[in-house]
Symmetry: C2
Subunit: 295 residues, 2 copies
């Protein structure tokens, strides 16, 4: 049987790369076969995809917090779907699935980004393996809280990671983005297979990564209407340093808002279309060097 | 009073640059003032914007064909809105408005594009004026049929043009894109003002433009499911030449579809998100040199 891996696509219905890859793998499952692994796929939110939307009622990728999964009164479509997925491939905290790989797109220019929700030796070795074989990959760590407390779908597995690739407009399929997602997913399978067999190759001793700190919102008036937009210097420049004193917001009255900080930080999810209703402007990360444990 | 100009934003509810510019101009109308012109603004599809969608029922920018405007039985939201706009600033064919400037965004990398629906001396002089003062501007001519037969909103004026700027994801506001739209619109007002006063400056004798020929669709199976995506060589390369024999489609079975033609043509609206339901892959244009009539 081997170690159980589930690859999830369509957690957001208008992020098409993962949904397309699922179709291709269903037609040619041998592409997923790896020694020591039992790999299956899951189409997480088919109804949202049918409607050509991110979600129908609430963001499915925020519904996997234990309190939400455990409350049967929360019964809208995505809340229900989360509970079914938790039963099918979880349950969270005592999972039958060794690894969940959840595939996402962003409209931001984040390139192929591997999002880790934990920094166990396994996660860091994975990051080093992927980065060494795909130098354009970006490693983003979201460990502000323990994985069990995140609402992300990938946290229903014993381990979970997200593959986040952009820029790609919602409802659009880009050839280059599809290739990057396929390459990164394939490398994650390669690593997992080598690791369970005890055959990990020598890895770099350290790996450059970004650690999520917080999300910055557009300045708003008392009615919640944005007073500014993201400054053009940031546009398309995900993971480029934002230095103290750099322009950050362009106000509609012509003035400029500057970044106040004591060190360079790294914006990402810049102007992401899916976050526009919350008026999130971008997320900020710090640069970190992760020491890679020896295999 | 002067020559009557109407600037239209929000014809598509999720194309935010024009909607934002309308807000700014309403707060500071002096930005639109030009000698000899009477300039007003119109928010074309506020309900679609409220819903954060391109349209509620049908594409408003296809509802201005005479047969549609003249059929009272066509009464859904956008069909009704088109009739009201036609009364307010038209009527088409006998318009009270000398010029309609309709502001649009695209998710494609088309830069700041001036779309002409006619090639009168006025249109060509306008193109030469804009291009000489904004070299990054692209001139796109859609004259496959007379303006009166198009369904475009801008055809309700005696003259009409569209300002189409991208790439910008739906529901997102980009600072750089906003600036390009503002610059091009301002130049159109400058030209119109100079022209009505008989004060046109010397213009270049010719202007490079692209003439729309047809739209290419993704190859589909008998159920209407796409069998391919746009080849990555075209991605982000709007208005770059597509030569006979160049890759055009990447089929999901791994094969490649090549462009069959006898001369280079110029793809644009490549992978435009709004056209995804029709499976339009891109439009094709030929390069043309327009001789500019002397003023």
């Amino acid at each position: 049987m081997g170690s159980k891996v589930v690859i999830v696509g369509g957690t957001h219905g208008n992020e098409l790369s993962g949904i397309q890859l699922l179709k291709q793998w269903q037609a040619a499952p041998e592409a997923l076969a790896r020694p020591g692994l039992s790999v299956s796929t899951l189409f997480a939110n088919p109804s949202a995809h049918q409607a050509n939307r991110r979600y129908l009622e609430v963001d499915l990728n925020r519904q996997f917090e234990p309190a939400l999964l455990g409350d049967p009164a929360l019964g809208n479509y995505e809340q229900s779907r989360a509970k079914v997925i938790n039963q099918q491939i979880g349950p969270k905290g005592d999972s039958q699935t060794d690894l969940v790989i959840d595939l996402h797109n962003t409209t931001s220019n984040m390139g192929p980004t591997l999002i880790l929700v934990d920094t166990t030796p396994w996660d860091i070795q994975l990051a080093a393996f992927v980065k060494s074989r795909m130098p354009e990959a970006v490693i983003l760590v979201e460990d502000a809280k323990p994985p069990q407390q995140w609402g992300y779908l990938c946290t229903v597995g014993k381990r979970g990671v997200m593959v986040e690739v952009g820029p790609q407009s919602q409802s659009v399929l880009r050839h280059d983005i599809l290739e990057q997602m396929e390459t990164m997913t394939s490398l994650i399978l390669d690593f997992t297979s080598l690791e369970v067999q005890g055959e990990l190759p020598e890895l770099p001793t350290s790996v450059l990564a970004y650690r999520f700190l917080d999300t910055r919102y557009l300045p708003m008036d008392e009615q919640g209407t944005p007073l500014a937009m993201v400054h053009k210097n940031l546009e398309q420049n995900d993971f480029a340093p934002l230095n103290p004193g750099d322009p950050m917001f362009q106000y509609f009255d012509g003035t400029v808002g500057y970044f106040e900080g004591d060190r360079p930080l790294y914006p990402h999810f810049i102007n992401e279309a899916a976050y526009y209703d919350s008026h999130a402007a971008f997320s900020l990360a710090e640069e970190v060097t992760l020491d890679v444990p020896t295999a």
